[in-house]
Symmetry: C2
Subunit: 465 residues, 2 copies
């Protein structure tokens, strides 16, 4: 039997005209993208290894996929080809239920820092064992990144090899690490291309990017937090739900139990938004101190944790799982797991003894309510950008971030406020960086005469079948 | 006033979402494409000259235009930006009505070799003067190229500078030349990109490509021959007509009187298909010998010539123009103009004394009818490919072509044929090249029991308003 030769031009013509690509054609594209990049890195000339694909062809392919979309079968094939484009984690030696969560990105969303310890604690108390190979990202755009938060802990090392990650998982049942250079290289290359060809917002390409990285962790369960509202990447509930459905379908068809919660991102989640301040907030909760501003964070975290415990067979229902998660938080078991995980990754746990004292911004300013009324709303994306401009986020990949920049929220949407009352405290490590974010926050916060209708935090659950 | 900075990503996002681009945005893209290419040629590094556009972005842009189309305003802007991307011909010094024709490509279509001398002859006999700055292309794919035909004439030089073209025009009222390297460079670059990104078939991009080159000739009148049928690039009448409408609109909005004739391309046009054999056929006609197989060619040529004479004000109606064109052919005036043009471009006109004798194929074969009946049809594109495989066309740009390869048609669709009667004679300069085309022709010619309905050669006229 002769191998069928696939030409990039034929793949482009099919997708351009809305036809379905074959598995072999999708595997060819992903393979050629990675091969072309490897050749570029090594200085080899094009054409040295089999059939290649040019940058112009990749750009045209991404745009054709943007315009024409993918069938679920094509999406599954693309995700799988990307997942296996480099090294992958092999969880079989752990003999546990590997479980992870992923959020599409929000402001003040530090729930991973609570969920991982909760699941790890559940994984250590016997029964059907759970482990959490959590590979996270960095802040980009208006959203924060779990790695940036963790790295404010002195000595904390997020750059573990997959082998070392396996050791930490065996010891602690969770590891909080960054992507290795060889994990899902196709996504690294394609994401860079999407970013400058105007094809980032395709739900199909977003799904393949997220799911290829998560599935490379060899997961048996995955809980997705898909944000909706003014702080979400996806502008509408309809589009967020469509993305959630694509991700659940892709996860399930890869053999991973997958559920997506559509959750509100209309205001910063919890009390703090930034880097160290978010660790501080989580440590407070795990140590048993529940600030009133953290109520929404705890509700979200418990709901996501609960679904994971249900998927792992540790709870009879998601609701039972939620109750169990809250109990694990309250009992101190999550905090104990947290200390073990941080210590295993080289972090200095003494900073958790007085997390407020470790917070050392060099400059602060308070935004106050201009009048009496009710906090009615804000553009949450604008809040995220203000946090980024304070120094907590980065303008482009590779930029350094400030450990102690951020904001504290003093009121939630629907709260009664009085003129002069503090709404936000801004922190920065540079006085000069306060002015613009202060104006941004002041410009987007709305105070109204009447209390706005309360929106629920948990909007909808998307699951298989 | 500050210059508005245009970023490629913003242009991509707009076109991707089906929004209309501004004139400045379209000019930016074309400018950046040409600048980027110039930089590449000179070895400069990217970013040295203003804002650039990457290959991936050009690929994505072309695909977005393919999928979303262009408004007539955008198409006019794209055509104009391409037209002025390099040097252009300035016809103002000629003080004549500059007139040209363009065909979307066919098999055996040598009408340019008749039309240019007819118009030149009309341009020389006083009245409102006409000149024909005809910049033609070479054979590609299944279609022939006017330059390849002309260059079978010993000494004929098609590579004139625009300045030299102006001199020939002043002397002969027509010049038959190839594209200069600096004429419409944007099309050369974009065509190469379209070819390998699967975006060739966009009617908008085809229109901009054709019209930018034609309008760079500084035309006052343009007659377009848009082919329909099995030998045409566009598969359906509907799509051919849409392309014709785009081209007429684009020409008219640039101030050029433009008309398009939709004409049949269901079988090779005229008696011969190839290179020298097509010159031979035209010389026969201009010398007053009208072979029965040339009737369709003469009909087409006179119709296109007639429309041009009408646009130029040399005839009261297209029908009068057609009659005038036929008279110019019959009177010998066209042949006299032809001899002047060829001589002015260095060609040896002695070969026209006995054009049949100059035809020197090294190998021949005759395809005969397998049975009695009527010639019912053929895939005309397949005929074109057979001619190409005989050596008359090229597999890729830059390949040499054979002067004497080609075919002679001995019957037209609808003709009564008898078993054993010659249908095609194949000519090649290499015996080994006969076999495959012989099988291709034999495989595509259909003989039926009943006479097929006659189709008209001239299907429809598309004109402004």
């Amino acid at each position: 039997m002769r191998d069928v030769v696939i030409h990039p031009i034929d793949v482009l013509l099919k997708k351009r005209d809305g036809e379905e690509l074959s598995t072999a054609e999708i595997e060819f594209v992903v393979g050629a993208v990675v091969r072309g990049n490897a050749r570029e890195d090594s200085g080899e000339t094009a054409g040295a290894v089999g059939e290649t694909i040019s940058d112009a062809q990749i750009g045209a392919f991404l745009m054709a996929v943007f315009e024409r979309g993918l069938s679920l079968r094509e999406l599954g094939d693309l995700t799988r080809a990307m997942r296996f484009s480099g090294e992958t984690f092999d969880a079989s030696v752990l003999e546990t239920f590997t479980l992870d969560k992923h959020s599409t990105g929000g402001v003040g969303d530090k729930s991973s820092l609570l969920i991982a310890p909760v699941w790890a604690a559940a994984g250590m108390d016997g029964g059907s064992s759970v482990s959490v190979p959590m590979i996270s990202g960095r802040s980009l755009g208006h959203t924060g990144g779990t790695l940036d938060k963790l790295e404010t802990i002195p000595g904390f090392d997020s750059q573990l090899s997959l082998a070392r990650m396996g050791e930490v998982l065996r010891e602690c049942h969770a590891a909080l690490v960054g992507q290795t250079p060889r994990l899902v290289p196709a996504d690294r290359i394609l994401y860079g291309m999407r970013d400058h060809t105007g094809t980032v917002e395709s739900p199909f390409l977003i799904c393949a990017s997220i799911m290829s990285k998560k599935l490379a962790e060899d997961l048996r369960g995955l809980v997705l937090d898909v944000k909706v509202g003014s702080g979400a990447f996806m502008p509408t509930l309809e589009r967020s739900k469509f993305l959630a459905e694509l991700m659940v379908s892709t996860g399930e068809s890869a053999g991973t139990k997958t559920v997506a919660l559509l959750t509100a991102m209309d205001e910063p989640l919890g009390r703090f938004s930034g880097n160290w301040v978010e660790v501080w907030e989580c440590v407070d909760i795990m140590q048993g101190r529940r600030h009133s501003m953290s109520a929404d964070l705890i509700e979200l975290s418990n709901a996501l944790s609960g679904w994971g415990l249900f998927l792992a067979g540790r709870a009879e229902s998601p609701e039972d799982g939620t109750a169990l998660a809250d109990e694990i938080l309250r009992s101190g078991a999550a905090y104990a797991a947290w200390l073990r995980i941080v210590a295993a990754q080289g972090g200095d746990t003494s900073v958790f003894e007085d997390p407020a004292a470790f917070h050392k911004p060099k400059a602060m300013r308070v935004l106050r309510a201009s009048r009496d009324g009710f906090l009615a709303g804000m553009d949450c994306k604008e809040i995220g950008w203000a946090v980024q401009r304070l120094g907590a986020g980065r303008a482009r990949p590779g930029d350094p971030v400030s450990a102690h920049a951020g904001i504290e929220s003093h009121a939630k949407i629907g709260d009664r406020v009085e003129a002069g009352q503090a709404l936000f405290t801004l922190f920065s490590e540079d006085e000069a960086l306060l002015e613009e974010p202060y104006r941004m926050l002041g410009g987007t916060v709305r105070i109204a005469d009447h209390r706005p209708e309360r929106q629920s935090l948990l909007r909808e659950v998307v699951k298989a079948g």
